[in-house]
Symmetry: C2
Subunit: 201 residues, 2 copies
């Protein structure tokens, strides 16, 4: 009878889901704190590396027509804020332009879209998963995960990266809210009259 292996499989899957939920809860907790953005991005990188057991995790943010490396577990500190990619090239640029997830399980460096991705060592890794960072319907960055060895990303991992990309987008917007906007009392009247609440009333 196959009950016992099935049991073990379910237990594994359950603990995996619990970890994923915990990851989202920790990201959510980051969003209500008022830590510097760089710290928040680094915390998200650390959470993803732990959960996905990946060798590299990088967060690029859009700066004009370029993407700037803003957080990573793999790049040296000196690369943060300095490694820049054109939006026109590389897998990362492709993800930003097309606003689509890319998942490659092996030979990522041979992908036709790859091309002079950057000078980071991680660019010789086999497996590559990349999601756009989206804020209020605009691409504001790219979130990359890489494995040195071939790795088939699951649908769940893709869904996870998509959601984390959205959460980072919110974090970015929140970081841009200036203090004066935060100090203002949230006025319901204003929101009602501004159509924010009115639309469905």
């Amino acid at each position: 009878m196959e009950t016992v292996p099935k049991l073990r499989e379910l237990e594994l899957r359950l603990s995996r889901l619990e970890e994923e939920l915990h990851l989202f809860q920790r990201i959510s907790r980051l969003m209500v704190r008022e830590a510097p953005l760089s710290q928040e991005l680094q915390s998200i990188v650390a959470l993803l590396v732990e959960y996905l057991e990946c060798d590299s995790c990088l967060i690029y943010l859009v700066d004009g027509a370029e993407l700037v490396l803003c957080a990573s577990n793999a790049a040296p500190q000196s690369a943060i804020g300095r490694v820049r990619l054109s939006m026109e090239e590389g897998l990362t640029g492709w993800v930003a332009r097309n606003r689509r997830l890319v998942s490659i399980s092996r030979d990522a460096f041979n992908d036709a879209r790859f091309k002079s991705f950057s000078e980071l060592e991680a660019d010789t890794y086999e497996a590559f998963l990349s999601a756009p960072i989206i804020a209020r319907n605009r691409v504001v960055g790219v979130l990359n995960v890489q494995h040195k060895l071939p790795h088939s990303y699951t649908g769940e991992e893709m869904e996870l990266l998509t959601t984390v990309g959205e959460q980072i987008g919110c974090l970015l917007l929140l970081a841009r809210l200036d203090r004066s906007a935060l100090e203002r009392t949230l006025s319901i009247e204003e929101m009602l009259s501004g159509g924010l609440l009115a639309a469905s009333l």
Copy 2:
């Protein structure tokens, strides 16, 4: 042998966790859209009612020294934006003032903190779970869930409501970002010089 009941229990728990994860993903998806806030709040209420199988779900937002009902599955449309509670009374006011979750499994209406909670029918319900809505470290509202019959809220349900309260807080801040702020290109230089990214470099 107890393997089969255990298997069933695990399967149930797994499907529950999958639903919870799905709930977070749907809330995350709401955050990147640009729908009117009222619609987004109503969508969250609908998701929570479905997941928690509660009889009532209400979102109050802070407006000066009051809390204003802004979304609900249970109150008539006419109550939205009109039912107001003082921050000084009721369980909802207590949650806002103390920034703490409240969980009551039965007789919620007899709680000493309850007191003239509001004129909503839901205020005769037995079970009550309430979490502060927090944005960048400030209480900006309260999220209430109620069951007509006694109901012991699990640690998971409490954790869920806490996280959804944080996510709603982010949604509120995002709704306050004016269009001009959104149109501005995200300038990394600006963020670096503004100390947002610089702090941990």
